[in-house]
């Protein structure tokens, strides 16, 4: 029973530390920026991993969901309720951002009933282009110039909190009958259906949850940078997420954390290289595909990230029939 409370206690301690740390002066603004980016990237990575890792589809449209979350939340704080107290409006903005993105996940989910693999990837690409062009052409969202003057609400505690919720949510989904259904679709969709898996609901659940958390990440992103425009959410943004997923490991919570960590840190370290840094990451990806195609932690996880009942199971000795 004592162990049962250990993880929540540690997570709470983490939240306290994330709140106190900036006040101590131990971390400067730059480091805080990096840590917040890490949290946002981790949320993006785990959300994309649900579709690309656990379900085994290939979505390249995740920047679109992120954009919807970013714009929906920013419109709320900039246009609709400017000057509202952050403790009230920011949680609302995050949930709105997530929900709008989640809702947009529905049509993509419906389309995934009939299409798979490459074809579905093209649909997600089309979705991204629709979102981006849409945002560019609607004056209310600032057109191609984007939205300016977004309040700086995203701080370390908020980013940390959202990141924990995203991982907790995805973990609970993945280690439930719905999550097992999603993995079964990846392995063999026909067999999954024949074994009673309602593949349609499972696909919808995967796309909506995934889009929701991408939207949450978008809301955090908008209120971190204080400025968003449609070209922040182009195919390159999606590519960055793909790199994180396939680097860290498909269908893995720990891999999502690891992938986001490596990419965030490398992006900062390689800053002096300028545009050449866009060569290093893809090169890593090539090496990874050659030697470890499912990523560093593909299909496996650290046991502390799993629910208690799923940890270190000991096989029973085989009885005689």
């Amino acid at each position: 029973m004592k162990n049962r409370l250990l993880t929540p206690a540690l997570l709470l301690a983490g939240l306290a530390i994330s709140a106190i740390l900036p006040a101590t002066g131990l971390v400067n603004d730059y480091l805080q920026f990096v840590l917040v980016s890490l949290a946002i990237n981790a949320i993006l990575c785990v959300s994309l991993n649900l579709v690309n890792g656990w379900m085994g589809e290939f979505s390249v449209g995740h920047a679109g969901f992120m954009a919807l979350g970013a714009y929906a939340s920013a419109l709320l704080t900039v246009r609709l309720f400017p000057g509202a107290p952050p403790w009230l409006i920011f949680p609302l903005a995050i949930v709105t951002g997530g929900s709008v993105a989640g809702l947009a996940g529905l049509p993509v989910g419906f389309l995934s009933f009939k299409t798979r693999g490459d074809y579905l990837a093209i649909i997600t690409l089309a979705f991204l282009m629709i979102v981006k062009s849409g945002l560019e052409n609607i004056p209310f969202t600032g057109g191609p110039r984007g939205l300016l003057g977004i309040p700086h609400f995203t701080n370390l505690p908020w980013a940390y909190f959202c990141c924990v919720v995203a991982f907790w949510g995805v973990r609970n989904l993945v280690y439930s009958k719905f999550g097992r259904g999603i993995s079964a679709i990846r392995e063999d969709e026909v067999a999954a259906e024949s074994m009673g898996v309602d593949t349609r609901s499972a696909k919808l659940a995967a796309f909506v949850t995934s889009a929701f958390f991408a939207g949450v990440a978008g809301a955090l992103f908008a209120h971190q940078l204080q400025f968003i425009n449609p070209s922040s959410f182009d195919i390159l943004k999606s590519t960055e997420m793909l790199v994180m997923v396939y680097l860290g490991g498909v269908a893995s919570l720990g891999g999502s954390l690891l992938g986001a960590g490596v990419v965030t840190v490398l992006t900062q370290i390689l800053q002096p290289l300028g545009t050449w840094r866009m060569v290093v990451l893809p090169l890593m990806l090539v090496l990874l595909m050659l030697f470890r195609p499912s990523g560093i932690m593909g299909y496996s996880d650290w046991s502390w990230l799993k629910p208690r009942s799923e940890r270190n199971p000991k096989p029973k000795p085989e009885p005689k029939r």
Partner: protein, 258 residues
């Protein structure tokens, strides 16, 4: 008494090809029915129609008196028709235990909300199904392999696991598509005993597609013969063995063979 399964005028066309033509059939509780026929006779198509993977072009399939020919495969599976595949279709990257748990999951009733919060009720339900899955694996002598990758199992164990997974649906009707494929005669005879035991233990009705004649003749109480999508004969194993049309379908007409 309503038969367990009734098939009326079942037809399935692929373009101009009639893979199943005007098929009628009755299957009663506890039957052990064999389906034989040359390659391309429409046997697997028939199973795909029964399990909902294909929709019939015309005709009806009734399970316990209710039409099932418009249902999705997952709905049919939940009603109690489970199947295995000719070319084993396990969830290869998942563990042996997870393979069986996925089939048990259809009996777990909890909402997505409960899943999101991992409620106590959910945890108990999951523990129950894990235990049931483990017990089923023990029965199939796969218990000690529960945490192995399903794709890593030897061929024979994969075949057994596929049957175990199908039984986790707690079906009343089990469809086996060439379970003895790739087995030598000795292994096939072991499979025969095993299937008899399974049928009694789980009080099942079984329909089996098989080319291994010794197995079919030894196991089945009734045999139906298909050729080019048409039922050409049906009856007890002895009747089938002596039926001239069956011999013709398999060996060609008399006088053709030198």
């Amino acid at each position: 008494m309503t038969p367990l399964l009734e098939i009326r005028n079942l037809t399935r066309e692929f373009g101009g090809l009639r893979a199943i033509a005007d098929l009628g059939m009755m299957v009663h509780d506890s039957d052990l029915m064999g389906i034989i026929g040359p390659n391309g006779a429409g046997k697997t198509t028939f199973f795909n129609l029964l399990s909902g993977i294909y929709r019939p072009s015309s005709g009806e399939i009734l399970f316990r008196g209710n039409r099932i020919d418009r249902l999705r495969p997952s709905e049919i599976a939940r009603l109690g028709i489970a199947r295995t595949f000719q070319n084993i279709r396990l969830f290869r990257e998942l563990s042996v235990l997870e393979n069986v748990r996925i089939a048990y999951d259809s009996h777990l009733k909890y909402s997505p909300m409960a899943a999101l919060f991992h409620s106590t009720r959910l945890r108990q339900a999951e523990q129950g199904s894990t235990r049931a899955a483990q017990e089923l694996l023990d029965l199939f002598e796969l218990g000690s392999l529960a945490h192995e990758r399903a794709g890593d199992l030897p061929y024979g164990s994969q075949r057994r696991l596929e049957i175990a997974r199908a039984l986790a649906l707690r079906p009343s009707l089990l469809l086996l598509d060439e379970p003895a494929a790739g087995m030598n005669p000795f292994e096939a005879m072991k499979l025969l005993d095993f299937l008899r035991w399974v049928q009694k233990k789980f009080s099942l009705t079984i329909i089996i597609i098989e080319h291994h004649m010794q197995l079919v003749m030894g196991l089945c109480t009734r045999i139906e013969v298909l050729d080019f999508g048409v039922r050409i004969a049906g009856g007890s194993p002895t009747e089938i063995q002596n039926n001239p049309r069956v011999i013709e379908a398999y060996l060609g007409a008399e006088g053709e063979i030198p």
